[in-house]
Symmetry: C2
Subunit: 281 residues, 2 copies
């Protein structure tokens, strides 16, 4: 696949949401992860804010500096050819002006997609639909000004809130999905929605791609594809998989047990050298 | 354990080489790894140049910029209390003047130990003993000027070279070990030495701590302790352990198989939050 420019790369990324097959968009946090996934054949990748925060030693929630995030994104987009989508949480902004500036910097970092949340300040409060739509419109307008059809994945945090019942939450999600689409979103992401019946209803009610966070409760990817889910992402799961293995080996070594360290089919340096760069930085 | 200052931390690190028990010094490449190992109870940690290079998408061998290395080291030493030793390869320098400047910058980054190799340019050439001793003396002198008893782990690449026979290589290693000690090294690191008899001879001939790279061939840590090995390190093994697990899960997901992703006893975000920082960067 060839990318003429960033605009072309964004178009290809959007197209991947309409391929008929579910788009598996794995989330990484550093250059090596990006290079590995490209090497394995993934057509695009995303970052996870939690993974980037954790790997730098901070909790999630815009704790690391925006300048650090930009620098990590630049490093990643420079290292791979496939489209990269960035999880930008709440957009690191309290105003539409700041959001606009940040979107320009993000696109200049080489990303062609974003996740933007409708949570506001604390986790238990959402932007009003009008407010979040204004944020999405601002993003779309700025991206258009730069000539980039940025793939906006509008995340709703409706299912992170406590609800009296499921149908009220689902109704709110459908209303928000429709509004976000009209405001310029390309994809809708109801994080933690994990009831197959509700997922199916949402897909039917919204005429736009739906992104789901793959969890133990909805782990059957083929089934999600059959229901009509367009894309799945992994959040910080890959980071946790790697860290779990490292933790287990490191715990054993403390008691002089090196069996796990050498027991697994461990990657060779030669394999890593198939995709890392040989020149000087 | 409390550290009054960097000098105190360096002294404690050196002391760990004489505790009677073998010092297991695991190698990490980012802040999260450092925090995890401190949380697990490791008394000190080291970086591996290959892991830092790979995780940033470059091959090993001083390919990443020295300024990037310093920035990563600063981030790590700020995030943990335990002593951190840095793998600085050949010292990123072609002259003693440059080496001196780099040592100052490295100590200012908060590290209290280094690995320095005697390879020169290409892998198949070593510094003369005199030349490498001058480099070690320069490092010791600069560290003393700053008042830091930097723990110098002098790596010899003798066993990376092709030798007509084992005993010639061992003899050369013993000669180099003695000379490096006299020049100011605290610890001697014959990388890839993996013959137990030779390891034992080396320990007996040199009156200084020996660091070994733990490999499949010499995986019995208790046995190494009995022979008198003072310290073991892991090179890029922990990075490879994590990457192997991520690769395996990512390969399965490409064919819609999420069993491994959720099958392992995966770390929870709550566990990671026990040791990452909650404040803003």
């Amino acid at each position: 696949m060839e990318y003429k420019d960033l605009r072309n790369k964004a178009e290809i990324f959007l197209h991947q949401h309409y391929g008929g097959k579910i788009l598996i968009l794995p989330n990484i946090w550093n250059v090596l992860g990006a290079q590995l996934l490209e090497h394995l054949g993934y057509p695009s990748i995303a970052t996870a804010s939690a993974s980037i925060a954790f790997s730098n030693g901070y909790d999630d929630g815009e704790k690391i500096k925006f300048t650090r995030l930009l620098s990590i994104l630049r490093d990643i987009t420079k290292a791979v050819n496939i489209p990269v989508s960035a999880d930008i949480e709440k957009g690191y902004s309290n105003s539409l002006g700041q959001l606009k500036k940040n979107i320009r910097l993000l696109i200049e970092s080489g990303i062609v997609g974003i996740n933007i949340e409708d949570s506001k300040g604390q986790r238990n409060e959402l932007h009003t639909i009008e407010s979040q739509c204004n944020r999405i419109k601002t993003i779309r307008k700025e991206a258009e000004k730069l000539g980039i059809p940025l793939v906006i994945n509008a995340r709703t945090d409706v299912f992170l809130l406590e609800h009296s019942n499921r149908s009220i939450a689902l109704k709110e999600a459908i209303t928000r999905g429709k509004a976000y689409k009209d405001a310029g979103a390309d994809c809708f992401y109801p994080i933690l929605l994990s009831n197959l019946e509700d997922i199916s209803k949402l897909v039917q009610k919204l005429s736009m791609p739906i992104n789901l966070f793959l969890t133990k409760e909805i782990a059957d990817i083929k089934q999600l594809q059959q229901i009509g889910v367009a894309r799945i992402s992994l959040g910080p799961s890959l980071l946790k998989v790697g860290l779990s293995c490292i933790k287990s080996v490191a715990e054993d070594l403390l008691s002089y047990d090196s069996k796990k360290l050498f027991g697994n089919n461990i990657i060779a340096s030669e394999y890593i050298r198939e995709f890392v760069r040989k020149e000087n930085e």
